[in-house]
């Protein structure tokens, strides 16, 4: 029945399968050649959670509908793949045993409808590619467009759908009445079975490799908190014993980092959410993946010899520039947006580790890093002045904890709240609230050094380790029930970079607890202004705390709140913390300026935040966008204190 040109159907099918199988095996072998040389990265264990992610984010496509049209189209195409793979399998078996894999009438109807929907989706997707051209599709740093590849793949899918429909006369697609049983459209059958094999072999050549790698990529995704940075090496735990640090060439990536690059679909959601891309810096996260993938394809070609590292453009420096890498604030918006769980921060940090080891650190960052090393804070302030802010709190209420002493709440201020005169006010406000609520509070004073959060994220692992050691020494010689901090970066560092037995909590969480316990005597603020809460990246996205600050804010009588469009998981970075403040990144606008615009867009006149750097960056942005007097930036603790004091609306901070 399937014989064609006098050759038996089984023979033709066998030939096609053999050709496709050998081609695909060869291609995948070449593609995975790089992965075999890659650095180790353990991604086993927690199989239940992995399976859950595979089902929800992989098969469930949970992250797709955020972009409604594209998301729904993708869900249809993906569901179509799943439904029709059974049909394709049965068609492969047909020439050997006609009717052997009969799937029954209900399935036939399902696959007909699916085929029709998939075909329509292809048309809409192609129309979007050619006519609508959403801005997200074109990256301003891209040297080549992927439209042709996208159209080719959409065309192949369309051919498959049409051929499938013609094989036995799908009513829905062709309007023909079904062929009499046993009769098929022979050319359509072979076109289908040939196309699907060509399609398979084409996948690993471009961005559609994701069809093969995306589900494994989701299954093997990072289960650590997103705020946790991977160690420089998984195979050698002694940092000083490492021959080289970080990633300078393709082979230095871990296998998962390369798989990430292979799995990138070029959908642009990461860059669409990236504040560095939005403000016109040299960074576009998707290009990190695309350029890495293109470099890998060029160095490990399907045909021809592997190109040795010294004959390639430098991965870090040429393919990916230093400026791109320094533009990232590690806010995590890209990772939150990626539908296939590609990880960016660890890759960027690994490449920065190489730059730092190679001495290639922007001049503007060298002083603050030297100051961190010499004086324990990036400002170069005298270490012994670190605890001086406590003098502003009600006298004697917040102690500088000496070794051997104990307290209930140990306030880890980190450098910004300890030294920046504006941010000291938030530390004082928070400490006042704690002492008024009867919490036995102390701080480390001069024994505390910077948490090293940004030092680590800027790739200066050795400096981070030295800072951590000093802090651990100070912490271990004192006893306390828990650590409280008003700095989400410190929170993240102490939770994820340090190993501390006691809980570490953020001041917004402490304030919410005190509120619950009835220990915040909040009074109405005679205030007709609109308030909005700006989610700090390291509080929200990286540590999952969205609700407590809002609960506190909403408990203040008499104020009206509004949400920005980009809030909670989609919050937009203010410009980054600590060392980021010293950077002179080339950009069109500052992140903070875009953020206060977003607040103004929803009519907010007061932006409440819970991070020293958000406060500093956004206050700067208020000034540079000419909103002085029209918009106030305030820390949650300061607002709570204002409400406790029952102040009438205070004059705006200038």
């Amino acid at each position: 029945m399937y014989d064609i040109l006098g050759v038996s159907g089984a023979a033709v099918q066998t030939l096609l399968l053999l050709l496709a199988a050998s081609a695909l095996t060869y291609i995948l072998r070449r593609r995975f050649g790089l992965l075999r040389l890659a650095a180790a990265e353990p991604r086993g264990g927690h199989w239940g959670e992995r399976l859950r992610r595979l089902l929800v984010i992989g098969f469930g496509q949970a992250r797709q509908p955020r972009y409604l049209v594209a998301g729904v189209l993708h869900i249809i195409l993906f569901a179509g793949f799943l439904v029709l793979s059974l049909r394709s399998l049965s068609l492969m078996v047909e020439p050997y045993a006609p009717g052997f894999l009969s799937l029954g009438e209900p399935y036939a109807t399902l696959k007909d409808w699916t085929g029709l929907l998939v075909l329509l989706s292809c048309v809409v997707a192609a129309w979007r590619r050619v006519v609508v051209k959403p801005a997200r599709y074109h990256d301003r740093h891209a040297s080549q467009s992927h439209t042709a590849e996208a159209l080719l793949i959409l065309g192949l899918i369309a051919v498959l759908m049409i051929a499938d429909a013609l094989i036995d006369g799908s009513f829905w697609l062709t309007g023909l009445s079904p062929n009499p049983p046993g009769e098929i459209n022979l050319p359509a059958f072979w076109i289908h079975n040939t196309t699907i094999l060509i399609f398979l072999c084409l996948l690993p050549l471009g961005k559609h490799f994701h069809v093969i790698t995306a589900l494994p990529n989701v299954f093997l995704s990072n289960l650590n908190p997103s705020g946790k940075i991977k160690p420089p090496s998984y195979s050698e735990s002694n940092f000083d014993a490492l021959e080289s640090v970080g990633v300078s060439k393709l082979e230095d990536f871990t296998w998962k980092q390369t798989l990430d690059a292979y799995s990138c679909v070029d959908c642009g959601r990461c860059s669409d959410h990236c504040p560095a891309y939005a403000t016109g810096t040299p960074l576009s996260p998707r290009m990190l993946s695309i350029k890495t993938r293109d470099a890998a394809y060029a160095a490990y070609p399907i045909l021809g010899n592997i190109v040795p590292p010294q004959e390639r453009p430098a991965l870090v420096g040429e393919t990916i520039t230093d400026a791109e890498l320094w533009s990232c604030t590690t806010c995590g918006a890209c990772e939150e947006a990626c539908p296939v769980m590609i990880e960016y921060i660890d890759r960027i940090v690994d490449m920065r580790r190489f730059l730092v080891d190679d001495g290639r650190l922007p001049a503007a960052l060298q002083k603050p890093l030297a100051a961190l090393e010499k004086r324990g804070n990036p400002y170069g302030k005298m270490a012994r002045k670190r605890g001086e802010w406590v003098a502003e709190v009600a006298p004697g209420e917040v102690r500088i904890l000496a070794p051997g002493e104990s307290c209930e709440a140990l306030y880890f201020t980190d450098s910004c709240a300890a030294f920046d005169p504006r941010v000291q006010q938030t530390a004082v406000a928070f400490a006042n609230i704690l002492t008024q609520a009867g919490v036995n509070t102390a701080t480390l004073g001069a024994e505390e050094v910077d948490s090293g959060h940004e030092a680590r994220r800027f790739g200066e692992e050795g400096l981070f380790m030295a800072l951590r050691e000093k802090n651990m020494e100070a912490l271990e010689s004192r006893s306390f029930q828990r650590i409280v901090t008003s700095d989400p970066h410190a929170l993240n560092s102490l939770r994820n970079d340090y190993t501390i037995q006691q809980p570490v909590v953020h001041h917004s969480q402490v304030l919410a607890e005190l509120l619950q316990a009835g220990k915040l005597p909040l009074q109405a603020l005679a205030d007709h202004r609109r308030y909005t809460f700006h989610d700090p990246c390291y509080l929200g996205r990286h540590n999952g705390e969205y609700q407590n600050p809002r609960s506190v804010l909403e408990a203040i009588p008499g104020i009206q709140t509004v949400e920005m469009e980009r809030s909670r998981k989609r919050s937009f970075c203010c410009g980054g913390g600590s060392l980021n403040l010293f950077q002179e990144t080339e950009c069109d606008r500052r992140m903070g300026e875009m953020r206060v615009d977003m607040a103004a867009d929803v009519g907010a006149e007061v932006v409440v935040t819970a991070c020293p750097f958000c406060l500093v960056n956004l206050e700067d942005a208020v000034k540079t966008t000419g909103r002085e007097g029209a918009m106030e930036i305030i820390d949650l603790a300061e607002l709570v204190q204002r409400s406790i004091n029952g102040a009438e609306q205070q004059p705006l901070e200038v």
Binding site: D240, G359, A370, K374, K381, M382, E460, G462, A466
Partner: protein, 262 residues
Amino acid sequence: MEIYVCIKRVADTSEVEIEVDRSGLALEEADFSWDINEWDNFAVEAAVQLKEQHGGTVTAITVGGEDDEEVLRRALAMGCDQALHCYDPAFEKADAWAIATILAAALKGRAIDLLLFGAVSADEGRGQVGGLVAGLLDLPLVSLATALTVDGAKAIVQHEVENGLERVREVDLPAVITVQTGINEPRYVSVRGIRKVAAMDIPVHGVAELGLAAENYASQTNRITLEELFLPPQGVGAQILEGSNEEMMNQLIQLLQENGGL
């Protein structure tokens, strides 16, 4: 090419309240942090870049106390091949001339192609040592270099001269060149980079090794005697204008006119 670069460890006095100690001859150092003199950092970078282009070795030298070894480690981490620590209790409180004679003693008899200094040091800021060493070793000197290349047995140096001008000179090697900041972008030295060179041997040369008169070398050689150190007395007559920008401007113009400034 044999390159020598002379460096110094200086105090970072930023953010510190400067106080004279009880002797009246030194500053309270408790709050200081110490690091390589900024100009010397550019000189080390220049030396290492020349080595990377032309091959050869770079040797970093300092005259200073025990702790000053720190800046030599840093120079090694930046890519210097070896270091020499001129350290002897007798060198304590050496002035520019004494330091220059110690360096000259350390350098004499070595095959030198290029001898680099930072143009000036951030502590006393006299900018003398480079020139003095050039004189003692009888080598040509170009000071305040803002660009430096080497071509065979010549160095092409762009350097600052009077009235904000710069000039390009060729100088035969060996030569002494003092380096201005901004001549390059010094590489960053990571904590790990320092630890990697922690085990490298740095020879220490004192009066005996350098063949210098043993007793009280510095005090006998110094040509400057410090009589007294004091903070400049607070000036009088400072006035802060108040009011709107326009009012302050008018007050300022009036003051300048009254006092002959306009």
